[in-house]
Assembly symmetry: C2
Homo-oligomer: 658 residues x 2
């Protein structure tokens, strides 16, 4: 496993794969502004590897939970020069072995991830209840979706007003999230009506509110608590299940509130910033912010013009961007990893963030520019911020303030500090969903819309389905894990869905443009063209389908569950695979554990901090198969990873006898 870190290092030495990134990083270096790539270089540039990332931490062999420590343990993963720092013991002060330490640290990571998604879902569910109670707040745009969701969780939808129904759905979600829960979570059953049974039997579907379960989960990570590494790892699976349910609740309710996305063309790249306009960058994960800002940007064009701009240009980044892309078609500047450089162009007048993946470095960068750093939710407060809390009750007022601040900032923009890369961005199509896919397939078979897809898989035209998801990492040549994997999968006639930063990486490299269809194998290309035609996309149909934000990974789970149900089998039997190749944030770990719990084997391609325990690695990559029928697949090299994913699909096909 020591090789993993070496492989990463050699991959990142390939430099930038995206020319816009490269050019803008160079500009920022000239301006004396540091980015995460510079920080990574700093670690890499020490002599004899002395400033490498800490080997104890990288292998999961460091614990500083309590004040007996920090403790660290030996491993054959450590480089020679670290050996002098190894204490002569096999245990932490409290008696943790390497297995316990590595597993425990991983559970803490998953806990932060699942808390993030449950926190997101609570906000969204409350927004639905509040909108239902007070129509002056948010309009409920997705009435069809409301009825579908209500029915899926057993709420009677006959003779009931929309508002009342919305309130009931919101409350049902809050019961799952906050309790009092009785029996397995309602939305878990709705997500995977048949598949859930085996998870329930395996004790993997919590029966109390997610919040209480999380409190006891965090409790179990404190000093002198859970120390059996096997039990700790089973906790990561259970919290993975909660995570997926939280994603599902968020997606469903966001569709109810803001409407289900639909495929539409837009653009991606730093050049979606407009030098002539007030540029507002929406950042984070909750669609409320972008909905409202876009709304007020439209209303306040005149004010912007009075300030000398040609108008207001709302653009996105990270998953708030993906949400706005899918529902409103607003362009994306890029992926989360680019937030420093997008702001560093000096062309962004305000960066408005709700929650998650908002780098603290934006405080430093905006402090050197005219750019306003606007935070909008209580869980994310930053230095150098302007805090404008935005919630359903004050959404109009706050959105207006945000746009006003942006216009004020525009007046202070210093053209000498701005930069526009010469490299050009790409077109993309966002907004694919299960609903969109089914409505297209319904044109082929209106009674059983899944049948055409299943038939295509059965006859081998489509070999299987892969989901590319999660973050981008400067520890490898960022983007290229996904690009390499996507191209290899397409060539082998695997249908590729992508979400979050995996999706925006594919888009930035042109894989969401019609021309990229050339990368797909002949049979797959035919299928995609049919879908594109039915969706009205014709020449624009991309080979990689943008399936939304990282929260929208639940859409992929819904699709998998629907196919499994259609076939009367369980998800783990299907020719499916996922990859969070460049996983960075804790949420990625929570998601991949949840996706694995559902039965989908998931690849990761950056060293997880697990390598200090061969037991933990074996449990997750091997033994877990006995429980979930799926496992973690660790492979740093993207080409090898793609072939392991294809092999997995072939194996599942063989097992199905197709």
């Amino acid at each position: 496993m020591k090789a993993w870190l070496e492989e990463e290092k050699s991959l990142r030495q390939n430099g930038f794969a995206d020319r816009q990134i490269q050019q803008t990083v160079e500009f920022m270096r000239q301006q004396g502004m540091e980015t995460l790539w510079d920080v990574q270089n700093t670690y890499d540039s020490g002599l004899f590897g002395l400033t490498d990332r800490c080997s104890f931490g990288s292998n999961g062999l460091c614990c500083r939970n309590c004040n007996l420590g920090p403790c660290r343990l030996d491993s054959d993963q450590l480089p020679m020069h670290m050996k002098v720092a190894v204490p002569d013991t096999q245990r932490s002060s409290c008696g943790k072995t390497a297995d316990t330490m590595v597993a425990g640290m991983f559970l803490q990571t998953v806990m932060r991830g699942v808390s993030s998604h449950v926190g997101h879902a609570i906000h969204v569910a409350r927004a639905l209840v509040e909108s239902a109670e007070d129509s002056s707040t948010l309009e409920i745009k997705g009435k069809d979706k409301l009825i579908a969701v209500a029915e899926s969780v057993g709420i009677d939808t006959k003779n009931i007003e929309t508002a009342e129904l919305a309130k009931k759905v919101g409350q049902k979600a809050l019961e799952d999230l906050l309790g009092p829960g009785k029996g397995p979570m309602s939305f878990a059953i709705a997500l995977a009506p048949k598949n859930i049974e085996r998870l329930v039997k395996a004790g993997l579907v919590p029966e109390k509110g997610a919040a209480e379960t999380i409190v006891q989960g965090v409790h179990s990570t404190a000093q002198g608590m859970m120390s059996s590494s096997k039990h700790i790892l089973m906790s990561t699976v259970r919290f993975g299940v909660i995570d997926v349910i939280a994603l599902y609740i968020s997606t469903q309710i966001q569709d109810i509130l803001f409407g289900t996305p639909a495929p539409m063309a837009s653009k991606i790249g730093i050049d979606v910033l407009d030098e002539q306009k007030v540029n507002i960058l929406v950042h984070g994960h909750v669609p409320l912010l972008s909905e409202m800002v876009v709304n007020y940007a439209n209303k306040m064009e005149d004010k912007a013009k009075k300030a000398g701009a040609k108008g207001i240009n709302v653009v996105g980044i990270c998953c708030t961007g993906n949400e706005a892309l899918g529902r409103l078609g607003i362009p994306m500047t890029g992926s989360t990893i680019m937030q420093e450089i997008v702001v560093g162009t000096g062309l962004v007048d305000a960066v408005c963030a709700d929650v998650q993946c908002v780098y603290p470095s934006l405080s430093t960068i905006t402090s050197k520019l005219h750019t306003r750093l606007i935070t909008t939710m209580p869980e994310l407060r930053m230095d150098n911020e302007i805090y404008i809390e935005l919630n359903p009750e004050n959404a109009d007022e706050s959105a207006q303030k945000i746009v006003e601040e942006s216009i004020n900032a525009y007046k202070e923009r210093n053209p000498e500090k701005t930069f526009m890369p010469t490299a050009k961005g790409h077109g993309l199509v966002g907004g694919f969903t299960v609903e969109a896919l089914l409505s297209v397939l319904a044109k082929l078979d209106s009674e059983k819309p899944l049948k055409p897809l299943v038939d295509l898989i059965a006859n081998g035209t489509v070999q299987g389905v892969a989901v590319l998801a999660g973050c981008l990492s400067p520890k490898v040549q960022n983007d290229m894990s996904f690009i390499t994997i996507a191209k290899e999968l397409l060539k082998n006639n695997v249908l590729v869905l992508a979400t979050g930063c995996a999706a925006t990486a594919c888009a930035r490299h042109g894989l969401m443009e019609g021309e990229a269809m050339e990368f797909a194998g002949e049979p797959l290309r035919g299928v995609l063209k049919t879908i594109g035609g039915a969706a009205g996309l014709n020449g624009q149909m991309p080979p990689v389908l943008h399936f939304g934000s990282c929260v929208d990974n639940s859409r992929c789970a819904v699709l998998a569950s629907a196919v499994a149900d259609y076939l009367g089998t369980s998800i783990d039997k299907l020719p499916l695979v996922a990859s969070a190749a460049e996983h960075v944030v804790e949420k990625a770990a929570a998601i991949y554990m949840g996706v694995i719990a559902l039965g989908i084997t998931t690849h990761i391609g950056v060293t997880p901090k697990l390598s200090g325990s061969p037991y933990v690695v074996d449990m997750l990559t091997n033994e877990l198969n006995e429980i979930t029928g799926s496992s973690l697949l660790i492979e740093i090299d993207p080409k090898k990873a793609a072939h392991k994913m294809i092999d997995h699909i072939k194996k599942k096909r063989a097992e199905l006898g197709i």
Copy 2:
């Protein structure tokens, strides 16, 4: 601040202060069994400090939250030889500064602590509701307390059955813990009816259920979330408040279920183990386990005798021990830090643990002995365990199984592997409470029982009150922080209450025996003798009052709040001070932040992992005064610490004009 780590090192070089510990550690070394002192020695014994505890971690300058890292930062706190490992940057990959990193790591510590206490309180509140719903489970022993608590949270106590009232109280607690909350937590108001207002105004009393607040709190610690160090630190204060309320709920409901403790004499030391009997060691924090085990130990004496033992000897350690000491008078083997050596004597037939502070090393140690390691709650699963879940519904059955396992183990005890230290233990009096104190004081003034105490403080007979609380640390000469501080305070006529391991440290050094009265100043001694006489303790009255488990720190808060209310002032104005001199576990951090939030300045005497940020240290030790009227006091040397605590009391007296 670099001096802090050096001071600790020099203190721990003083070796063992407790002869029983010293002798038993030596025995274990002969047996090839390692303890946490050996692990600490391992870190200390490297040449040139190369194997010292990691300086980055010790100063809070390491972050491995996400997979961009682990990251580490430079500081003037780092020793020269670590400088080669310092990356040439002032930020983490995501852009955290030292302030953000240090504060964020501290918040994570507090979050694990508050989750532990909220988790404990949820279990206890559920037990009350279940007992109320089904009388076949637990008997409600504290009917007076039930009425008092019900009234304090605004429940009508007239014309209502005990069971119904108990259910309402339990549900009220669950509302605070799990929601739905409306307005500040009911038990917060009950704890500090007048004092709470300022905390509410300062936004420091959460208005939603504790669990939801914790989920969003953990969410706020994930990558790309809260990065303003000031906001992060204010979160630690808010979660401190939740922590104290969770303690208060637990103590109150435990008194309702099991009765309020009363002062009674018992013994402490490894020699409370009985070589002739089946020894059952109860360990952890929740009193249900010890209550039930003691109950069945009494019933199953005959069975033990048939197995060749002279009977069954239930003894305690950690706070489950303190709970059993206070309510049942069962003897204590020692403090939590001694768990390895108590089990290592080979005289313990079963160690039964519920939750918290149960070292993973017990798995290794029991695997080499006949000793059964019995775990009883789902949050704490260990290697080499026998899992016998114990909850109100199955308490009888499970307790019986536990005692049976212990008897079976006794038969396998190998006398050649047993050890009894020649050094003798001590007597002690446990079970002091606010109720006990007030009932004694009521003998002096039945209408205003607080008046005699307040008068004694006003006239200077008692200079003030200090609470010694929290863990023991092998990073200093364990025990001696508290012993030094206690003696110094007593000499200066400060009334000393102690809880948790601070209490058991005092007890092991004889400070809870009547003879120790000599350490108290003449005026204080008179007061204590009066209290002792009224409590029927006469010659046995100790100068340090054992105020229960660490959860029972809430009893001290209740006393402080009552005195403040009596005087019509706020807690921070009173001549009070606390010390968690040898804080180890995360719960200690949560408690001391809560105690500070209430207005009580608290000392800590082992380097917290905060020293990498002068801002964070200043905020907690200084600036916080402006918000709470109290702060953290960091002083490694116990003698100096005692005088700083006394100075604080003098300052508060001067401000009150007394």
